[in-house]
Symmetry: C2
Subunit: 215 residues, 2 copies
């Protein structure tokens, strides 16, 4: 399958690398055509990995992953272009983390709104599925590094898009338990959880952890 990745950070590289390993063709998009981090990733990833600007990656992908830093996501998606995204599934992994005041980070949007909702409102013709934002990028594509049962969460307004994203989470990335929290407004709780995650990270001194819902 042809996949577009928006963002050249750790998350974009982890998702892109996994997808190439699975045999997909992946184009990593960034603000500039010769982004050095994307170039490094392309060099390491072989013939199925290419790079371009955000619009190239969005046009290339049958499915697109938003792996940009959350505070820049809306700008990046505008550059990606609505005509390149229309009708497609956009898997939104971004968290609107604001590190400008140091650690711990705060959220640039929360409580009465969320990044997932902002993206869906800005791109009504794109099928936004929020997921994977509650774990570190290593865990995203290799959940078995956290032992035993644990959960990943998903939300979005389009049932078919969520079903496809769930298939990707399970069959491609190896998630055994995917919990559907409903429409895109559940992004609010999923993104606010990340502030709790940061405290757990600080406590556990590792990013290789997750939670299991027990009932």
């Amino acid at each position: 399958m042809k996949i577009g990745i928006l963002g050249t950070g750790m998350v974009g590289a982890a998702i892109g690398t996994k997808l190439v390993q699975l045999g997909h063709s992946v184009k990593m998009g960034s603000r500039t055509v010769n982004n050095p981090k994307a170039a490094e990733w392309v060099k390491a990833s072989g013939a199925n990995a290419t790079q371009g600007v955000f619009a190239d990656a969005a046009a290339f992908g049958e499915i697109v992953f938003n792996c940009t830093a959350g505070m820049g996501s809306l700008d990046a998606l505008k550059l990606a272009g609505v005509s390149n995204l229309r009708g497609k599934i956009l898997i939104d992994i971004a968290n609107p983390l604001d590190f400008s005041k140091g650690m711990p980070p705060t959220l640039s949007v929360c409580n009465t709104d969320s990044l997932g909702e902002q993206i869906q409102r800005s791109f009504p013709e794109v099928k936004i599925v929020k997921t994977l934002n509650t774990v570190n990028c290593h865990v995203m594509v290799n959940p078995s590094i956290v032992p035993g049962p644990h959960d990943i969460f998903i939300c979005g307004n389009d049932s078919d898009a969520k079903a496809k994203a769930t298939e990707i989470l399970k069959n491609w990335f190896g998630w055994k338990s995917v919990i559907d929290l409903g429409d895109i407004s559940a992004s609010r709780g999923m993104e606010m959880y990340v502030i709790f995650w940061v405290r757990l990270w600080n406590k556990l001194q590792t990013v290789d952890f997750n939670i299991r819902v027990v009932k």
Copy 2:
């Protein structure tokens, strides 16, 4: 031991009832001296249960539980009176949930501050320990209704107060795993988690659930 409970809602009643069952003397405090919900609880709970205004309960307790609705907690604590609370442990269970715009609730404070921090700043001579706010009141005092291992979180600035609260959580309420997230600023993540909890509740259609941290 003599315990003060601030608040007459489901949380106050659940905590108060458990403490009376354990043989403690409990005074439930409210805004008015003859609060009917407190009276009903006293009637059901026997000789070790009494009621009064917030100041009575705060003066009575060697340890005090804040079980008020979060948006009213600071006002309730002012009525309880700094002189009645000075030097004591205040176990803060409240969440600053704002239901005024309907469901799902939002938080009246979050992200750059939290209720736990506001209370600690307003009452610097009181040892605030935030805990139990991440589960339903039934689970708070009877964690075994959720099967298998799962976690409760705690934070606060005073180590001795946290050690005492941890003892209460483990020996009185039956919690097996108590995760200390650090100083009172961890209230931010613990309270923001509750917006995520509300979505899980909506999904699971039960309040009898919790999370386990897996690493």
